[in-house]
């Protein structure tokens, strides 16, 4: 009995000592909290999952190196299930309960838009992994939103890249095929907006639903429209249908796709029909083909190798967006310390940062920081990517 009491007392003592040691260590350098909201489950899980994996990997790595200026980082991650209301609730939780320094997320434009007013009111820097320009710029007043940044390339950059290419090829008449989702509509709007600058004539403008399994009707119309190039703006699966249908209809027009199909899976889905398709793509998928002088090459290959070694799945551009967001944000915290206003200022000062999405040069009126050079024109040859010369 005595023995038991003694052991109990000893255990408690050791425990207390351990706790106090841990406490003093913590007191010396308090952790920096970064909040993350992503669309991990739900309709956009193919975006949220690699983003979550990337952030997990990077946070682990940073803490193994001793964190930011000796402060370990604590990443608090929530899933919004692709739902706007949940996105808002989670963002409020991160800001009010968890008292985070800054936010990363979300994966889709809609779920990001739902939290933009909240982060603005709370004055918390947000780096979004969603693409729409409306996230960083108020569509009514055209003013840059003070507290919101984003890492994915805007659609206007991809459109500019495509139009530059078509102009070089001497194309005059184009046809648009777009999917009726936020992604498709945003691309379509940019194509329509920028076409007059290049004196292109849009001879056909067709839309289709993301779950459609046959686009022959729309393509038949385009076939008779005299278009020299078809620009298809959609995500992976319906784009593959468009490619197949065009081949079946024996259409000889040049087929241009958006960066939304820049995954190996697309080539698998479209099979033979993918041969010769031209698209603007972020440099991640063609990292090996880049010249050694490209400042992004090292970043891209490093990220890809680490990611694929850890998770045994191929990298995707979406994970890349999270990589850029995390790296820029932690760099900003390193320079600014735990002060939200200063972190925001530092994010705005990012210059010449080689990320996976391009070389970022932020500014007070540019919270995206990319140019059309973030894209490369690539084509598909023998089931593989190839740079367009």
């Amino acid at each position: 009995m005595k023995k038991l009491a003694l052991t109990a007392v000893l255990t408690v003592l050791v425990g207390l000592v351990a706790i106090s040691v841990a406490n003093t260590a913590e007191q010396a350098k308090e952790t920096y909290k970064i909040g993350v909201v992503l669309d991990i489950t739900g309709p956009a899980s193919s975006l949220g999952e690699p983003e979550k994996q990337t952030l997990g990997m990077l946070a682990e790595e940073l803490n193994a190196k001793g964190g930011i200026n000796g402060h370990l980082i604590e990443m608090i991650l929530y899933d919004n299930e692709g739902d706007e209301a949940k996105s808002l609730i989670k963002a409020k939780k991160l800001i009010e309960q968890d008292k985070v320094l800054a936010l990363i997320g979300t994966s889709q434009s809609g779920t990001t838009m739902a939290i933009v007013p909240t982060v603005t009111a709370a004055q918390i820097p947000l780096v979004s992994c969603a693409a729409s320009w409306k996230i960083i710029r108020d569509p009514e007043t055209k003013k840059t939103r003070e507290w919101v940044f984003k890492t994915p390339q805007s659609d206007s950059l991809a459109v500019t890249k495509i139009f530059d290419y078509l102009q070089k090829k001497g194309v005059k008449k184009i046809a648009i095929m777009s999917v009726s989702t936020g992604y498709g509509d945003s691309g379509r709007a940019e194509l329509q907006r920028l076409a007059p600058n290049y004196k292109f004539e849009i001879v056909a403008d067709e839309r289709f639903a993301p779950t459609d399994t046959d686009m022959s009707a729309q393509l038949t119309k385009i076939k008779g429209s005299g278009a020299e190039a078809v620009i298809c703006w959609a995500i992976r699966d319906p784009s593959a249908v468009v490619a197949k249908n065009m081949k079946q209809l024996g259409m000889k027009q040049m087929l241009i796709m958006s960066h939304g199909v820049a995954t190996k899976k697309f080539i698998e889905l479209a099979g033979d029909a993918s041969e010769g398709i031209i698209l603007p793509a972020g440099k991640l998928i063609v990292a090996d083909l880049l010249p050694a002088t490209d400042p992004q090459k090292k970043v891209l290959i490093d990220y890809r190798n680490k990611f694929e070694a850890k998770y045994k799945t191929p990298v995707s551009t979406f994970g890349g967006h999270a990589y850029d967001a995390f790296t820029m944000l932690t760099d900003a915290i390193k320079k600014a310390g735990p002060d939200q206003k200063k972190i925001r200022d530092e994010l705005e000062k990012v210059k010449g940062f080689p990320g996976t999405g391009g070389i970022f040069n932020m500014g007070p009126d540019d919270h995206e920081g990319l140019t059309k050079d973030a894209f490369m024109m690539v084509t598909i040859k023998n089931g593989n990517w190839e740079l367009v010369k």
């Binding site: 739902d83 808002l88 838009m113 739902a114 933009v116 007013p117 569509p139 009726s180 498709g184 509509d185």
Partner: protein, 321 residues
């Protein structure tokens, strides 16, 4: 009847007492969504539980309210209050027009027709680019304001939403215990028999359809002016299913059960968040258990507990007195 008003008073007390205990906008935001969804679910309970008609399209009416409010305030710069009223009238009108042919159907056919209706409404939100902003949605929706008060913070918005809910809940209790309520219950039991008793079955069905659409529209307006942003994805088929699940879990023939179901389904994922990856699994298990062992929903469970306790107390009292 007495019990219903008792619960109503209790709810009032809880709503106005709650702010004494909570401070964080995070909890307020959950409570706000419970109120918003609760309003939709109240209407749906009247339609499903009392009139016995299934609707798988109510997220569409919810969206219609939100979009009418958004369009009227953003494009036409209307004050949010009249916009909410116009949205309400317009949505009820749409529901009446669509309800006339739809409500001739019964059972599964009605379910399918309302499902289609919801899907069509969502397609309209997606396709009318000029008006709705298409799939990427529209932002910049103003907050509600009353003279100098702007309903921009969560605490104020909490009161606004819950006052709406309390009023609508009171109206619903009144309705259920009126002549209309009795007529509705007879319809849900047997349409033919109700008709033979001189009840205008199709008119009452249409009335409830319109009324529940009106509830959904008000909730939609409250949603739009809280997020200040609308896009089509929260108004799809899955949302309709979610609303129906709230009705069924709560207990479809009980108004307060509906609120309980809404509160549970909205807040449970927050409490389960500590379980991380297993959250969905536990959530699913709870739903299945309720469906299997409590077909009358949470309201049924609580009524049963209440009855059992009362019986026990009576038994104990009997020998003594």
């Amino acid at each position: 009847m007495k019990r219903d008003w008792g619960i109503w008073l209790l709810l009032c007390a809880v709503v106005f007492g709650m702010p004494l205990f909570i401070r964080s906008p995070y909890y307020y935001s959950i409570l706000i969504f419970i109120a918003i969804y609760g309003i939709v679910v109240l209407g749906l309970t009247l339609l499903m539980g009392y009139a016995g008609q299934v609707s798988l399209g109510h997220a569409g009416f919810f969206g219609l309210g939100a979009y009418f409010s958004a369009i009227l305030t953003v494009h036409l710069h209307l004050n949010p209050w009249p916009a909410m009223g116009i949205a309400l009238i317009a949505t009820v009108l749409v529901a009446f027009i669509l309800g006339i042919p739809t409500l001739r159907l019964r059972g599964h056919y009605l379910a399918i027709a309302t499902l289609g209706l919801g899907v069509v409404l969502q397609i309209i939100f997606k396709e009318e680019l000029e008006l709705t902003g298409g799939p990427s949605g529209m932002g910049g929706i103003p907050y509600f304001h009353l003279s100098s008060i702007t309903f921009s913070n969560d605490r104020k918005y909490y009161f606004l939403c819950w006052i709406f809910l309390i009023i609508l809940y009171g109206l619903s209790i009144n309705l259920v215990h009126s002549r209309i309520g009795r007529a509705l219950r007879s319809i849900s039991q047997n349409q033919t028999a109700a008709g033979s008793l001189g009840i205008n079955v199709s008119w009452f069905k249409l009335l409830m359809f319109g009324l529940s659409a009106g509830y959904a529209s008000l909730a939609g307006s409250l949603y739009a002016h809280y997020l200040t942003f609308v896009n089509p994805s929260p108004f799809g088929f899955m949302a309709s299913v979610k609303f129906m699940a709230m009705v069924v879990i709560g207990g479809s023939s009980s108004l307060w059960g509906a609120l309980l179901g809404t509160a549970l389904l909205t807040s449970l994922p927050e409490f389960l968040a500590v379980l991380e990856d297993y959250e969905m699994l536990v959530f699913g298990a709870i739903l299945i258990l309720v469906m299997m062992f409590a077909p009358k929903g949470l309201a049924g469970i609580f009524s049963w507990i209440y009855q059992t306790i009362r019986n026990k107390v009576k038994k104990q009292d009997a020998p003594a007195g």
